[in-house]
């Protein structure tokens, strides 16, 4: 390498000499002007910078070519100014001696000049009043992931991302500034409150038709998984009311604007990014195998059955225990090993772009393929995106965008969070043989199961702007997005109880959006005015059809005839939707000398689900900013680069519910006089005052840049109230209707956020080290329940059949779990409290006659009736994380860059349900499920008489199986399994080497780099379960979920 670069340098010197020789006569001839050549490179990455504008005074005299090189003719003594978007301008004075310039352009440190989008308008940060955080696409490169959301974890203060499903192509949860919902689906998942994504102007709402943990049809591919991270120029997080006010009809949960790359070089640039990565599974839990397991079961039965004779009878009646030499049972199968695998994957991205201010274009092609770490799962992405900007004059501008993407996914046995069959199978006894028991799951059956899921997304946008008079600009943005999903599955008869079954599903989602706006900008001296009026229409539709053919002729013929029509179903699913939103409004912004900024906006929104008597909702917002670094008193504060205080208040809505909640459901009844009748469903009474969910936000923030921008701090405090959340309210039984969907629940999130960035070493130091960190603290409080209740308990059984009620209490965190309070384990039967009136010991359940004894858990008898039942459950814990944040460190030295990203989630209570189920597997020693080496746990061990045993044990006696069904000592709903779910995680580490430009250029390559990335490196946590991140929003560890893979990538970025 050194040899090469020396050669290179000599070569260049030689070339320069020749060049100098060539131009010297010219120099003599033209005294006035000299020729200046040079190269512009980026200071950080040493890459050449194409498209840099070179000007003298205000006159542009040239741009750099694709190699960053330029040649200009200037008069000696003039000053060349090099400007490039996102970079600080560089100035060089040209003297007669100047012939060759090497310009290094540093990224613009001036955070205040960053361009941000707020309320549909682009403006410099200095004049915006809302809370916006910009994440550059550079921070999202070099880590191959299927869903870009994973990379955003810990990047923005107050944005809580939990990657709680490792299933490729699915998505975790994202919440900006706390959870804004307390609505829980029947299967035990919190209604998601993901922010609105606006991808190149196309709004994508992830909350409608979400398929989080959903076991029905559909490909289960998140729309975000169809965005290639390589194509992202930047992402903007709009948090407060001022920033999101104009997205009012759906911006209540925050807005994330994704902008893809654009062309900015006259000479076309072709860049390739590719990586090869290996995914591997995190360590799995230990299980007992073979004879150890059999011994454990037999001992348990012998010791704890009601009599020795019963014990022998049970053992002999259980063939997999007694028939130990039968090869069918004589195994030691590691089921988990059977389902997890290490996979090799790849991703490729080609980006072609070019153009200048008047016309530019970009085409991006992406291929991503990831095989899941669970067998028979995987995700592939193919995308083709194009955009073009045409701006013949300053007055007219047209931007078009066309993206097509296809995701293909193998779901294995479940949709994202749930891997039902694998869960069932990996919970099997090791004594069974995989050869016979693959009928438990289609995952094990591998390729014999046909499982094909596709999601195709086509989105287009056209943005036209015209400025007939200076300052008055008309614009119209039209976008159309269509997503079709297909899913087909065939289960052959041998894995499905001899019933071949064919399932076919397709859905279609369209979103049409149009916004027309008039913008007027005028400056009167130091007074600047910006007025804006808009009208917005959006239409959304969704329809899914599914069909299930059962008992087709055989495993080879999958239809279309020969199936059992009686068992076969099909039709349009009842989640079809067709909604409209219309909004209009305007805003006025005024600033005085960029010192004082005030912004007033108002919008009205009508949605399909606004009740007729609700009409349009009114959403005002007020915000202001004070840049105090521009005040006179701050003039002498050299340490202050910028400083401002801003504040905002405003309202946003998000449509909820369906038209059935507003107008009731009408059904077709029997015929009357040969005419069909229509009657109203008595389930829900129509609610003509139905309102959309409303968010009222207050935000106050300080932004500071200190010590020559070595330290940048943004501190924000906010208070957000979510009102009108829908809740089922039971009606009095004298009413004909059972329930009303009422806008009755409210909650408040208030908190604090801090983002800071430190440049550790001074500028110009050979080693550049930047450290940034952020955290957000959120306190959520429930503020309103229907009927002025102060407490409401929602009993429900979640997908895993565990009865874990939720409790909503006014003045406390929005929801918490309702649990039995476990104080320990009764060391002996004599320790069990006795009812003084009746002389009976504490009883498990009223009237059961099952009394606690030594080895049983001590549950607090809250109401003192010596019966442990639902009345003794207490609300315990807060499953919503209180603190989330992240940290980032980037060290650059010469051509080497080391980046480390981390994130943390703190103060959160998690229910370790897998642990409960692990113990529950001991309830029935004759059932073939997986057993863990239980002696590793601090369990109660009996003494000789079985009524007294070890003192201060943590876990109750798991072996007493005859009583286990009645006592249920390892029930999920107890504080024994509640743990602190805090964790610190190293998300990724990237080590990158930039090749020397001179060296690569010889091969026609403009720039190239190589990198090694470790992803999902390590999680530090006290949590005893497998992964504190694989937890639902309700704080429940999902046993059998899809674990987050770890991966190692080797990649390259090459630019031609």
């Amino acid at each position: 390498m050194t040899c090469n670069s020396r050669l290179l340098r000599q070569g260049i010197a030689l070339m320069l000499l020749l060049l100098l020789g060539a131009i010297s006569p010219l120099g003599l001839l033209a005294q006035e002007r000299i020729k200046v050549e040079g190269v512009v490179t980026g200071k950080a990455d040493k890459n050449p910078k194409p498209g840099v504008t070179i000007s003298v005074g205000k006159k542009a005299i040239g741009t750099t070519d694709k190699n960053g090189a330029f040649t200009v003719m200037v008069e000696p003594g003039s000053t060349l100014t090099f400007t490039h978007s996102g970079f600080a301008a560089e100035k060089k004075v040209v003297t007669r001696a100047t012939a060759n310039l090497e310009i290094e352009m540093a990224q613009k440190d001036e955070a205040m000049q960053e361009i941000v989008v707020q309320g549909f308008k682009r403006a410099t940060r200095e004049t915006t009043t809302g809370s916006t955080v910009v994440i550059s696409g550079k921070q999202l490169q070099d880590v191959p992931v299927s869903n870009v959301l994973e990379l955003l974890q810990g990047k923005v203060a107050g944005v809580n991302i939990q990657n709680n499903s490792g299933s490729p192509g699915s998505m975790g949860t994202i919440n900006i500034r706390g959870v804004s919902s307390a609505q829980v689906s029947s299967s035990g998942f919190l209604t998601p409150t993901s922010p609105l994504f606006v991808i190149d102007g196309v709004p994508v709402d992830l909350n409608t038709n979400y398929e989080y943990g959903f076991q029905g049809g559909g490909p289960g591919i998140s729309p975000l998984a169809l965005i290639p991270p390589e194509d992202i120029e930047q992402m903007e997080f709009l948090k407060d009311a001022a920033a999101t006010s104009q997205y009012g009809s759906r911006g209540a949960y925050g807005v994330i604007i994704v902008t893809t790359k654009r062309g900015h070089s006259k000479v076309p640039i072709v860049s390739y990014s590719g990586s090869f990565f290996v995914n591997y599974a995190p360590p799995q839990r230990k299980v007992m195998g073979g004879n150890e397991e059999r011994r454990s079961r037999i001992n348990q039965i012998l010791n704890y059955d009601t009599s020795y004779a019963n014990a022998l009878r049970l053992i002999n009646a259980t063939p997999f225990l007694s028939d130990s030499l039968n090869p069918y049972y004589n195994n030691s199968t590691d089921w988990q090993d059977l389902f997890f695998r290490t996979t090799q994957n790849q991703s490729h991205n080609i980006n072609i772009s070019g153009g200048d201010r008047t016309f530019n274009y970009k085409t991006n092609m992406n291929y991503y393929s990831e095989e899941g770490i669970m067998r028979n799962t995987g995700f592939k992405r193919y995308t083709l995106g194009m955009d073009a900007l045409y701006q013949p004059t300053e007055r007219f501008r047209m931007t078009t965008n066309l993206k097509g993407s296809m995701g293909q996914r193998n779901n294995g046995s479940g949709m994202g969070l749930e891997q039902v069959d694998i869960k069932k199978a990996s919970n099997l006894s090791s004594l069974l043989s995989p050869a016979y028991y693959n009928d438990f799951n289609q995952a094990a059956a591998g390729s014999t199961v046909k499982d094909d899921n596709k999601s195709i997304n086509i989105s287009t946008s056209l943005d036209l702007q015209y400025e007939p008079i200076k300052g008055l600009r008309f614009s119209n943005l039209f976008t159309y997005n269509i997503i079709t999903g297909n899913s087909s599955k065939f289960r052959p008869s041998f894995i499905n109880n001899n019933i071949p079954e064919y399932y076919s599903y397709n859905d279609r989602t369209y979103t049409l959006y149009d916004r027309a706006a008039v913008n007027y900008i005028r400056s009167f001296g130091l007074h600047n005015l910006n007025a804006f009026v808009f009208n917005e229409l959006s239409s959304y539709g969704f329809r899914a059809n599914a069909m299930e053919l059962s008992q087709t002729a055989n495993d080879q013929i999958e239809g279309p005839v020969g199936y059992n029509w009686f068992r076969t179903k099909g039709g349009t699913l009842n989640n079809a939707k067709d909604t409209r939103i219309h909004g209009y409004g305007g805003s006025i912004e005024y600033n005085f000398d960029k010192k004082y900024v005030i912004n007033l906006s108002y919008r009205l929104d009508g949605t399909s689900t606004n009740g007729p008597s609700t009409g349009y909702t009114h959403n005002p917002s007020v915000s202001a900013r004070w840049n105090f670094n521009r005040e006179k008193f701050a003039e002498n504060w050299g340490w202050l680069d910028y400083g401002s205080i801003r504040s905002s208040w405003g309202k946003n809505i998000i449509p909820t519910g369906s038209i059935f909640d507003v107008f009731g459901t009408y059904r077709i009844g029997n015929n009357y006089n040969d005419d069909p009748t229509v009657y109203i469903d008595w389930g829900n009474i129509p609610n003509d005052a139905f309102k959309p969910q409303t968010k009222t936000k207050f935000n106050i923030a300080t932004e500071l840049g200190l010590f020559n921008n070595a330290l940048n701090i943004t501190a924000e405090a906010y208070y957000e109230s979510t009102d009108n959340e829908v809740m089922d309210v039971e009606l009095s039984n004298i009413n004909g209707f059972a329930k009303i969907k009422s806008n009755a629940r409210s909650m408040v999130n208030h908190g604090f956020e801090l983002m800071a960035q430190v440049r550790v070493l001074p500028q110009g130091h050979p080693v550049q080290w930047t450290v940034s960190g952020n955290f957000g603290v959120v306190n959520n409080t429930l503020t309103r329940l229907p009927n002025n209740e102060r407490q409401y308990i929602q009993p429900f059984t979640d997908a895993d059949n565990s009865k874990l009620p939720l409790v909503y209490r006014l003045g406390k965190p929005t929801f918490s779990n309702q649990l039995y309070h476990t104080e320990g384990v009764y060391a002996s039967t004599a320790d069990v409290p006795v009812n003084p009136q009746t002389g009976l010991r504490m009883q498990a359940g009223r009237g059961t006659g099952v009394f606690f004894q030594g080895g049983d858990p001590i549950w607090t008898d809250i109401n003192g009736d010596y019966v442990i039942d639902e009345q003794d459950m207490v609300s315990a814990g807060n499953p919503t994380p209180k603190v989330t944040g992240g940290f980032n460190s980037m060290v650059t030295w010469k051509n080497f860059t080391l980046t480390i990203n981390g994130s943390f989630t703190l103060i959160r209570d998690v229910l370790n349900l897998p642990l409960a189920r692990t113990f529950q597997n001991f309830y029935n020693p004759a059932a073939p499920n997986a057993l863990v080496p239980i002696s590793e746990y601090d369990i109660w061990m009996p003494g000789s008489d079985k009524t007294t045993g070890s003192l201060n044990a943590k876990y109750p006696n798991p072996f007493d199986f005859t009583r286990a069904g009645q006592i249920n000592p390892y029930r999920e709903a107890q504080t024994l399994f509640m743990e602190d779910g805090s964790y610190w995680k190293i998300n990724s580490m990237t080590f990158k080497y930039n090749f020397n430009r001179n060296w690569t250029r010889r091969m026609g390559i403009n720039s190239a780099n190589l990198y090694i990335t470790l992803n999902n490196v390590y999680t530090f946590s006290n949590y005893s379960g497998p992964d504190p991140e694989l937890v639902t929003s309700l704080g429940r560890d999902i046993s059998g979920g899809y674990p987050n893979r770890r991966s190692m990538a080797l990649g390259a970025n090459i630019q031609f």
């Binding site: 207050f698 106050i700 407490q791 009136q837 002389g839």
Partner: protein
């Protein structure tokens, strides 16, 4: 005030305003209070226990869907007679027997059972502090309380927790007078016997000695009575059998009886006329199913059995038994009187 100071003041003021704004935010939030639901209440408001036995009224407080937050405190307030006058008998305290350790049915002496309970002083009629269960202790007698046909007592219950308090007014306690044993032949209101005796619970294969007819339960009277000859304060139960002339039958004739496990009694003495056990009252001691009780644990179960050779040399098994409960300490006699015909013990 110079220019600098004024500027400083402005800055301090601005900071103050900001901080107070944030402070005001949290003040908008509702304060957490424990819930006290209007839906919660008592499913039973009139209590008619029988005095002389410890009676629990469990699960009478209903808290639908846990809409009120536990722990809840309950107290009986303003207990008064129906006429409105004060009822000191409900506010005074009396010695009652309270279990401290669990009765198991495996105790081997009266002393061991007695060691499991102690005497404490309580109101005769109490509400359990947190559960809203009511209890009338066995120390209550018709001498202390006004029993039916009197209209009894009226009381209010205060329910409170951190969220406030509620009152349930005019709940009623209308005790019945003692019925010291069950099954009872005593009138609930007058306490006078309304039948000669009670009938045995089981009669299997008992044949009349003179008639050779099968005897039914109605052919036997059972008398449960306090023995007059016993020492006062005794704790015994004796079993006697009388023939149709009211002459004692030797208990030894019930030869197949498991005398040692007949009931949870100790120190059995068996004479030609009776079998006596020392017991701890009440019998059964607690409502727990043991080998001495019925399946629900509410009655002691006894069975006296014998067998003889019938016609053709077939063994005929016969059994007579009684499920009973006795609540009052004393020397109790349980007398089986074969009023129609004597049972046949001899072989055919």
């Amino acid at each position: 005030m110079n220019h600098k100071q004024r500027r400083l003041l402005t800055q301090v003021l601005a900071t103050g305003v900001l901080l107070s704004l944030l402070g005001a935010c949290t003040r908008l939030l509702p304060e957490y209070r424990e819930a006290l639901s209007l839906e919660a209440g008592f499913s039973q408001t009139t209590f008619e226990p029988v005095v002389g036995r410890t009676t629990m009224f469990s699960n009478v407080f209903v808290n639908p869907n846990n809409s009120s937050t536990y722990p809840i405190d309950f107290t009986i307030v303003n207990a008064r007679r129906f006429s409105g006058e004060a009822a000191p008998e409900l506010s005074d305290i009396f010695p009652v027997k309270v279990w401290k350790q669990a009765y198991t049915g495996n105790e081997t002496s009266v002393a061991e059972i007695e060691a499991k309970r102690v005497t404490e002083y309580h109101n005769l009629f109490e509400v359990r502090k947190h559960s809203g269960d009511f209890v009338l202790w066995s120390s209550a007698t018709s001498n202390l309380l006004r029993c039916q046909a009197d209209s009894g007592y009226i009381f209010d219950v205060e329910m409170s927790n951190g969220g406030g308090r509620r009152y349930f007014r005019n709940m009623r306690l209308m005790p019945f007078r003692e019925r010291p044993y069950e099954p009872s032949n005593l009138n609930a209101i007058t306490g006078q016997s309304v039948a000669n005796g009670i009938y045995p619970s089981t009669m299997i294969g008992v044949v009349g000695d003179s008639t050779n007819q099968v005897l039914s339960a109605a052919d036997v009277d059972v008398f449960i009575r306090k023995s007059e000859e016993g020492k006062p304060g005794g704790n015994t139960i004796s079993f006697m059998f009388l023939d149709k002339y009211f002459r004692p039958i030797d208990p030894a004739k019930f030869a197949d009886t498991d005398w040692n496990n007949l009931l949870h009694g100790f120190n059995m003495t068996k004479t030609a006329t009776r079998v006596t056990y020392d017991v701890a009252f009440p019998v059964p001691a607690v409502p727990l199913a043991t080998r001495f009780t019925t399946a629900d644990g509410r009655r002691a179960t006894t069975s006296f059995a014998w067998s003889r050779l019938g016609y053709g040399g077939l063994r005929q098994e016969a059994e007579i038994g009684l499920n009973f409960a006795i609540y009052e300490p004393g020397n109790w006699e349980i007398v089986f009187a074969f009023k129609k015909d004597n049972p046949k013990f001899s072989n055919d």
